[in-house]
Amino acid sequence: MGAWGFFPTSEVRFHHMTMIDNREGFGASLEISGAAAYEGSLIMLMDNKIYGETEVTDCPEDGSYCKVFDKSGFLMSGASEHGKSLMPQMSSALPMYKIKSIGSWGGVQRNYRNEFYNFKKTTA
C-alpha cells in the first residue's frame, strides 16, 4: 500500500509524494461528525507522481520470484463519523472487523496536478 491516513480533522492534504508499484494505492480518510460534518470536509491530493509498471518486473525472466497483483494509484478516500485508534485501549462499539463507522454527510476529495505513469490493463 502507498500512504494512507485516518485523521480526526476536517481537512487533510497529501502533496509532492511519489508512489511506485502500489498494490492498494494511496489516499486518506477523515473522522468528522456532528455539526462540523455539515460544514464540509476536504481531502486534497496534489502534485503527486504515481507509477504503475516500472523497469522492475513482478516476474523476472530468471524465475527467482513471481508475485502478480492488481496495482492501484489512488484508492478512493472518504470521511466517516467515527473510527478506531491504531492502538485500541478499550472495547469499541465497532465490530472487530471494522475500522470505521458510517459515512459523514459531507466530504469532498479534490485532486490537483497529479501525474499517473504507465498503468496497463494487466500487470507485468
Binding site: 454527510w105 469532498v108 498503468f119 496497463k120
Partner: protein
Amino acid sequence: MVEFYDSKFIDVDGDALSYIMDPNPGWANVKDCGNFPCTAPLNVLFTFTDSIFEGSRPRWATPDFQIIANNSGFAPYIDSCEPSEDMNAYVCEEEKLGVLLFESEDDDMKDRSMQPIYVSKQGTEMSNKLNSMMDHVWDGFYSGQIRMSRFGSIIEGSRGSVYDLTFTGTPAKKMRFLMNGLSRTMGATLRIAYPGAESRSIVKDGTIVEMNQWDEGLSQYGEIKQRFCGENRYIGVQNILEFYITANCTLHIQPRDAIQTLVRMEWTMAEFFADGGTTSFVDRLTASLGIHAS
C-alpha cells in the same frame, strides 16, 4: 464525489484508468445492509477537468470527462455515457452529473427504515434503487441494528429534469437535501409522494420558502418553473411535494400544520355569515369528509 483537476496520464491504458467495484453481495444480511447490499459504490462520481494524455491513451481521451459506476438503474439512461467493461464503469461527457444527498432529520433517523428508495427521472426508464447506510454498530455480541437513514444518489441535472423519489417506507417528516455538482447551472425538480394528508414546507437558510402562487387555471398551486433553489408547491389530495434544488444548495423539508385540498375557498365575511356561517361550513365540510361534526 471525487474531483480531478489538471491530471496528467502518461501511457495509461483506457482499461486501466479506474475500476469501480460492485456492492459486495455479502453485505445483504441483517447486520450490515438488510435485504440487499448497500448502494454507495453504485453512486460514486469521478469528475476530470483539464486532463492531459500523453503516449498511449484511451480511445475516448478528452480533457473533461466523468466516470460513474456500472449502475444499471442509472448509467444506461445517460446519453453521453459509454460502458467500459474492464473498468466496470461508464465514461461520460456530461458536465451536469452530480450526487444528491439526503437524510432523515427525525428522532428515529437511525431506527426506522425508508428504503429501498427509487430515484427515477421522468421521461426515462431510470430507476436507481437506494439503500441506507450500513450498520456499523456492534453491541457486545450482537450487531446494533442501527442504520442511519442517509442516502446518496448519482443524478443528472440538465435543465428541465424532474425526478420522482419513491419511498417504499414512510418518508421521514423532516429531511435534509443537498445536491453536489460542479456545474453552476445544474438542478432538478424532486417529487416525493406522501402517504398522509399533512402538508410540507421547504426551508432554506432557516427561512420557509413560500409555495408558488395559486393558479386558478390549474386549481392548485402553480407548477415548478425551476427558477430558484427551494421553489416548491404541495399538491393537495395527491399529497405530492415538489421542489427545485440546484448544485451546492441545501434544503430542508419540515411538516406544515395544514391539510391541503384542491379547492380554494374565498368569500367576504358578510357572504360567509349570511349563508349559515361557521355552523353550516363545518357541517358541509365534515359531511364531505365523512366524519362527524362534533
